[in-house]
């Protein structure tokens, strides 16, 4: 009977499982004993007050309450109850009041680590609002990256450029395998020439990061960021680099604006001077066009243009790097 009831619980959310503890003593004990196997609560955590004095948390399931919590302290045992049987879906790291906020997050991550029942954050958001020195930012970022088990880091292009020269942080203990970065509204978000060069170097020389996503939130941002230059550099570097296997396996450019126009996409790649090997059209749905080109050593870059749906204005340009055997 135990196996059957446990299996039923596995189909339920943590909220439903906790409610089920009130049904009978048998159910309550079974849930307590099977805690390590049953589903976890997926928790959203975000900091809203300007000075990061309060954090807000909410179960991702619709209709759940929001918990407002003051700054995290390692000695606060109530936090263990809050995070019991939870995973943190997204953990914000905000460098507004730099040192203080960083310490808060370090404390939170330590609490998450201390409680074996918890799975630590899977997404990390960095939002450097207040300009601080590069060293300051890095000194606070490093212990967090070392503690956290996040697989993805979301970061603005400026902040990404900030840490481009310090990729050792991603090598030292952090499990980050994916970077999502955003190019927002110009002029403050436009990477400099130096940053563009660093970006291309970073894309071609990283052995540990497998995927990067770059978002352009406006057409203007796309133009100002000279992204065509970035793409051209990227392709040129791939064609000429000595170790193509060190390239990112997947590079995705998100375009959040009027992409219902397929000509824009085609023009975008034509401007890159790409030689078209293969192209497929799927009538503005799914993969729109696909381009492939390969090096003499059989390493190949495939570029896909796609739209999420007919009415969706989000477009993707994806670069896949693979060896053609």
């Amino acid at each position: 009977m135990n196996d059957v009831v446990k299996e039923v619980f596995k189909f339920l959310s943590r909220k439903e499982i906790e409610k089920s503890q009130l049904v009978s003593r048998y159910w309550k004990n079974l849930i307590a004993l099977s805690s390590d196997e049953l589903p976890l609560r997926s928790l959203c955590v975000w900091a809203c007050t300007y000075d990061d004095s309060y954090y807000f948390m909410r179960d991702k399931e619709p209709g759940c309450q929001v918990v407002k919590y003051p700054q995290f302290s390692v000695e606060d045992y109530h936090l263990e109850e809050i995070f019991q049987n939870c995973i943190v879906d997204r953990l914000p790291i905000t460098f507004r009041t730099c040192a203080q906020a960083a310490q808060t997050v370090v404390n939170l991550v330590k609490i998450l680590k201390q409680t074996n029942r918890l799975v630590v954050a899977i997404t990390c958001t960095i939002d450097i609002v207040e300009r601080i020195t590069e060293l300051e930012a890095l000194s606070h970022l490093q212990p967090i990256l070392e503690l956290i088990q996040a697989k993805e880091i979301r970061i603005s292009i400026n902040d990404f450029c900030y840490i481009l020269g310090h990729t050792r942080f991603f090598n030292s203990g952090a499990n980050i395998s994916q970077i999502t970065t955003t190019i927002g509204f110009p002029p403050e978000s436009v990477p400099t020439e130096q940053h563009k060069k660093q970006l291309v170097e970073f894309l071609s020389g990283s052995r540990f990061l497998k995927r990067i996503g770059i978002s352009f939130y406006s057409k203007l941002a796309l133009q100002k960021a000279d992204s065509i230059d970035i793409l051209r550099e990227l392709i040129k570097t791939f064609q000429t680099c000595e170790k193509p296997k060190n390239f990112f396996e997947e590079i995705e450019f998100f375009l959040y604006f009027a992409t219902g126009n397929p000509e824009f996409f085609c023009g975008f790649l034509t401007n890159l001077g790409l030689e078209l090997i293969e192209m497929s059209n799927t009538n503005q749905r799914g993969v729109l066009n696909s381009y492939k080109f390969q090096r003499s050593d059989n390493w190949m870059m495939k570029i896909e243009l796609s739209l999420s749906s007919q009415n969706d204005e989000t477009g993707h340009i994806k670069f896949f790097i693979a060896r053609k055997d």
């Binding site: 299996e7 339920l12 009130l22 049904v23 009978s24 003593r25 309550k28 196997e37 589903p39």
Partner: protein, 178 residues
């Protein structure tokens, strides 16, 4: 001609032959071997017995009664050639991904709604993954969105927790909203 299992007993021809299965209330069911084999437990028995398998003397099922086995057989008949189901869960929250059922399967569970626990236990014992996981999902569906009182009433469960114990459960579950 393909031989499917050990001891040379299993072949497509054998699947068409009848075997007698005896439930714990001494009811005998004459079933095509191909249908009975949807149950991994019965399939293992057939394979283990090999050539010594006496089709007429019966395979005993001490943990299943006749009325439930009748319902299980209905499932097996419909799923005798179905591929193995794929059980998946969310990689982070561990929550099982819900299966999409066919109209026949939905109707089957509508018909036997009051026997879901018995069906799940029989499917577990007989090792019929599709029936087992689908029944568990149906039970979860019945629990979802209902209050503890409604769940107790629906399944005939005794309320054996004291008010103090319930208060303690609510106190220690920070996210409790019930």
């Amino acid at each position: 001609m393909a031989t499917e299992s050990a001891n040379g007993v299993s072949s497509p021809e054998l699947n068409e032959r009848d075997v007698v299965i005896t439930t714990n209330d001494n009811r005998n069911f004459t079933v095509k071997i191909g249908v009975a084999r949807v149950s991994k437990t019965i399939n293992n028995m057939i394979q283990d017995l090999g050539e010594s398998l006496d089709l007429s003397s019966g395979i005993p099922l001490p943990n299943v009664d006749g009325p439930i086995f009748e319902k299980v057989l209905e499932w097996c008949e419909e799923h005798k050639n179905a591929p193995e189901i794929k059980v998946e869960q969310d990689p982070h929250t561990r929550e099982r991904k819900w299966f999409t059922m066919t109209e026949w399967e939905e109707e089957y569970f509508r018909k036997f709604l009051s026997h879901l626990w018995d069906l799940a236990m029989a499917a577990n014992y007989l090792e019929i993954p599709s029936l087992y996981y689908y029944t568990c999902q149906k039970l979860a569906e019945r629990i979802k969105g209902r209050t503890p009182e409604q769940i107790r009433e629906m399944f005939g469960i005794e309320d054996d927790l004291t008010e103090e114990e319930k208060a303690e459960i609510r106190r220690t579950n920070v996210w409790c909203t019930y």
